[in-house]
Amino acid sequence: MTSLNKTALTSLHHKLGAKCTSFANHELPIWFSTMKDEHLAVRNDAGMFDIAHMGVFLITGSNSESFLQKLSCNSLIKARSDTMIYSMFLNESGMILDDVMLGCLDNSWYLVVNGANKGKIRTWMQDHIMSDVMIRDCNIDQTLIAVQGPDAVNNLSQVLDSDLTKIKRFGMSLVSWQGSDVLTTRTGYTGEDGFELLVANEHIPQLWQALLDTGITPCGLAARDSLRIEAGLPLYGQELSETIHPLMTRYAWVVKWDHDFIGKASLHALKTNSFQKAVGLELSEKLIARPNYVIQEGGVITSGTLVPQTQTSIALAFVEPDFSELGSQVHVMIRNKVVAASVVQVPFR
């Protein structure tokens, strides 16, 4: 086993009594108190997450946009002006290599990739590199955190002493804090308003402590997962993989056919095939539908959780096209039980 990477905040997490786990080769909190309390803090107030495992690259040089445009199935036009966009990198077969966030600020492109895919994407970029493109690995000396929830904008504006209400949804800005630039984007993975901050490692413990002092709840990976499932957001390795193409997902809109990108021709050919569709399910019993549980009518569960507010069992799944309409009934095999489920609207709230 390779040794786990500690983040710049690991020792602080231990002091707070966090239960930690290994995720994407990093030692990260799974919860500080309970998943339920942390989930509710983000829905009702504000919560924050150490997401130092997420890969962040800074891409510069005269060809950086052409380079990223070749890799990205979404068009980068909207990302040119201080705005993060959601996209996917596809392989030559049109299958999903990773889902990413990227945006350009002051001629520098920021690319955020999944922690578990960071090495693969680095290699993929090196294999398709163009002249005058420089790639910097920001994880070497910077830490990404997320502050999420209805109170995030006020709490964070106070701590950073900067009016963050000026940053529009998905907007990007460099905010100066204690003499250090903090890349602040109004993005997140919870379905709430909030921000993600890229902070120099030497400043992050101090900022984290200041955020704790304003009453923001520290949250772990368990709540991050239940929040993103409730918001219907995909997780690479579950909803997305190299056997899934974007048209099967709820994010077919990320594919913009008006530019060239790796995987375009293969994906175009897949358009006419029949394929399973990504849906949301609500189960009739309080059992959690976990990844790879089989659906009797065809298909498979990709993620599931109990919604802390209601104890409703919800899941994301792939089903046959005939069962993908809202209101369709399917049956999930949960260990030795058959549990009825309905196709419901996503997000689940």
Partner: protein, 128 residues
């Protein structure tokens, strides 16, 4: 029930024996690992279980785990309160959160279990 007087298995079940009747639950360590318990699947009464075999499952927000019989015997009672309040296992693992009671088939199997002190030492050997 006092944690100090219980016996423990390597799978983190606890056992309390009185007059050949063993009450079985899961330890605080197991609860801390699992997080909030959302479902406990209980076996049928009168089922015979053998030492180290699976007799139920416990589902938390994090994962599904099997529960193993620390000793062999016949199930004489199950904690039906857990159907509506599985979180009793979290809040009171050694009392209201008990899982089954069995009539012990072979008291010598109790010798395979650890004392509280031995169990605490065992926990220190586990890699997180």
């Amino acid at each position: 029930m006092q944690e100090e007087t219980l016996r423990y298995s390597e799978d983190h079940e606890w056992v309390n024996v009185e007059n050949d009747i063993a009450t079985i639950g899961v330890s605080q360590y197991a609860i801390d690992e699992l997080g909030e318990i959302v479902f406990v699947e209980l076996p049928q009464k009168d089922t015979e279980i053998t030492q180290k075999s699976e007799f139920g499952t416990i589902e938390s927000v994090k994962t599904v785990s099997s529960i193993y019989a620390p000793v062999s015997g016949t199930i004489i009672d199950t904690n039906t309160a857990l159907a509506d309040q599985p979180n009793l296992v979290n809040s009171d693992p050694y009392n209201q959160g008990w899982i089954i009671k069995i009539h012990v088939a072979n008291v010598e199997e109790l010798d395979d279990l650890m004392t509280h002190e031995e169990y605490q030492l065992f926990l220190k050997t586990l890699v997180h």
